[in-house]
């Protein structure tokens, strides 16, 4: 396909402005991983089921494998790379590290973003809030217990 078929997308990712030229069929996931080399966002299923590719798009948790890159034009996006402040981990990341919330790590970026998003919207979640808030993110390693513990610990830490 000729490069002329590419389309221009301007968006803000982790606080920085970016302009990329992508194929019309590119998904936000592809642009983040291949154009911006932000490979923390993972592709687990490519059909919106597993949540490994979750990012925050204008503050809402979405699966970037289901977002056409063109839909991100003008949007503000946070990926896993934008969660820590420099070397200072976010409370959720620190909690995942200490409480065994990450095993193989492939669901972790999406799971961390889902947890960050949950705590932003609901600073004192009940157990049901946590379970439902993370229900779009699959983890095959942990059985979710250590993830729940991590979210609870992060919540206490933030208070």
């Amino acid at each position: 396909m000729p490069d002329a078929a590419k389309v221009r997308i301007a968006f803000r990712v982790n606080g920085s402005e970016h302009i990329v030229h992508a194929w019309p069929m590119a998904r936000l996931l592809d642009v983040l991983r291949e154009e911006l080399r932000l490979t923390g966002t993972k592709e687990g299923c490519g059909e919106g089921e597993c949540g490994a590719c979750a990012v925050l798009l204008d503050g809402a948790l979405v699966n970037s494998c289901l977002v056409p890159a063109l839909h991100a034009d003008g949007a503000s996006i946070i990926t896993i790379e934008g969660v820590a402040q420099g070397e200072q981990l976010h409370a959720v990341q620190q909690a995942f590290l200490e409480h065994g919330g990450a095993q193989c790590g492939i669901c972790t970026p999406g799971m961390v973003l889902a947890a960050v998003n949950l705590l932003e919207k609901c600073p004192n979640p009940t157990e049901a809030d946590i379970r439902n808030g993370l229900a779009g993110n699959l983890c095959r390693c942990t059985g979710y217990m250590k993830i729940f513990e991590s979210v609870v610990a992060a919540c206490k830490q933030q208070r």
Binding site: G51, L66, V67, G133, G136
Partner: protein, 338 residues
């Protein structure tokens, strides 16, 4: 994914003009939660994708004395969180909130929910909507059909066996929702109850839209005072899978008696399936364990189970019964509070 042209119109009219006169040539992109998977698996191979994201008129929910107008691009999460929906159309808010994951609720739209394609694994594996083998024989009756239709299928002959996947349609139909669609010849309004259709030939779709028409909004009449509603879903597990059977009910009451009832089943037929017999049976009745159970019985009269989905008849029966009891329970709560 095949190569396609992406169009980003800003008006409905423009969008309709970009669609093709044939199915499959162009596809509408709303939230993308279904279309991108279909395209990834080459089940959909449009030459042009028409995004509705840039069309302002398709967004937002307006509440007025005459009722509710829900833009086709309203997300499930917005619908669920909207105060008027929550207060006056309880079963609809519940249906929107039960949709799988937060991510899907954030992207998925009302129009997309109504127009999403079936989850049938034969369809998703490229055997077509009518799921036929090389010799033209239907795969579903002889194959694994545990999640397929128990109503509205041709009972072994070639035809549609999938179930309609919409989460919102049953509840919307019980409220008498109308769909506004726009096409090259302008706009028309269709009762949602007659919006869905069962394809007879491969290549036809699951609704009455023309290939170049777009769902623009859902119109709900003002909620009638004291109407009791509920949606009950039976699931194999809590999250991420589609329900095995759903029932939405809306009851107009006169005191503790049902004046009229609307009951619609989901995930049991190629279209949302109205339970007219059950509706008639309830008129003039109070909702009790007994009357709800009888309505459940009536709702599944005429069900035709396939080789592997007899259990769904039972699920549909129970979904109706429990939805009725839940609606009645809301009535009691309401009385206590007010």
């Amino acid at each position: 994914m095949n190569v396609f042209e992406y169009a980003n119109p800003t008006t409905t009219k423009e969008a309709a003009g970009l669609l093709a006169a044939q199915w499959g040539e162009a596809e509408i992109l709303a939230g993308g939660t279904d279309l991108l998977s279909l395209m990834k698996n080459y089940v959909a191979t449009p030459k042009r994708v028409v995004s509705l994201r840039g069309i302002k008129e398709l967004s937002g929910i307006t509440s007025s004395a005459s009722g509710l107008r829900i833009g086709a691009m309203v997300t499930l999460q917005e619908l669920h969180d909207h105060k008027a929906v929550h207060d006056d159309y309880h079963s609809l808010a519940h249906a929107a909130g039960s949709v799988p994951s937060p991510q899907i609720r954030n992207l998925g739209t009302v129009g997309g929910d109504l127009c999403q394609r079936p989850r049938c694994w034969y369809f998703r594996n490229g055997f077509g909507l009518l799921a036929k083998d090389e010799k033209g024989q239907p795969l579903v009756p002889a194959g694994d059909n545990r999640y397929h239709a128990i109503f509205g299928h041709p009972g072994g002959s070639p035809g549609a066996y999938y179930v309609h996947p919409s989460s919102l349609a049953p509840a919307l139909i019980t409220f008498g929702a109308r769909v506004k669609v726009a096409g090259p010849k302008g706009e028309r309004e269709i009762p949602l109850a007659s919006f869905f259709a069962t394809p007879k030939r491969e290549g036809e779709r699951e609704n009455v839209l023309m290939p170049n028409e777009i769902v623009t909004e859902i119109i709900l009449a003002a909620a009638s005072k004291g109407m009791l509603t509920a949606t009950y879903e039976v699931r194999q597990k809590e999250a991420l899978d589609w329900p095995l059977a759903t029932a939405s009910v809306a009851l107009r009451m006169s005191g503790d008696k049902v004046k009229s009832a609307r009951i619609v089943l989901g995930h049991v037929a190629p279209v949302p399936w109205p339970a007219h017999e059950a509706e008639k049976l309830l008129a003039g009745q109070t909702i009790t364990e007994d009357s709800a159970a009888k309505a459940g019985e009536a709702a599944v009269r005429g069900a035709k189970a396939l080789s592997g989905n007899k259990y769904k008849v039972q699920l549909a029966r129970v979904a109706v019964k429990r939805a009725l009891l839940e609606a009645a329970a809301h009535g009691k709560e309401g009385m206590q509070h007010g």
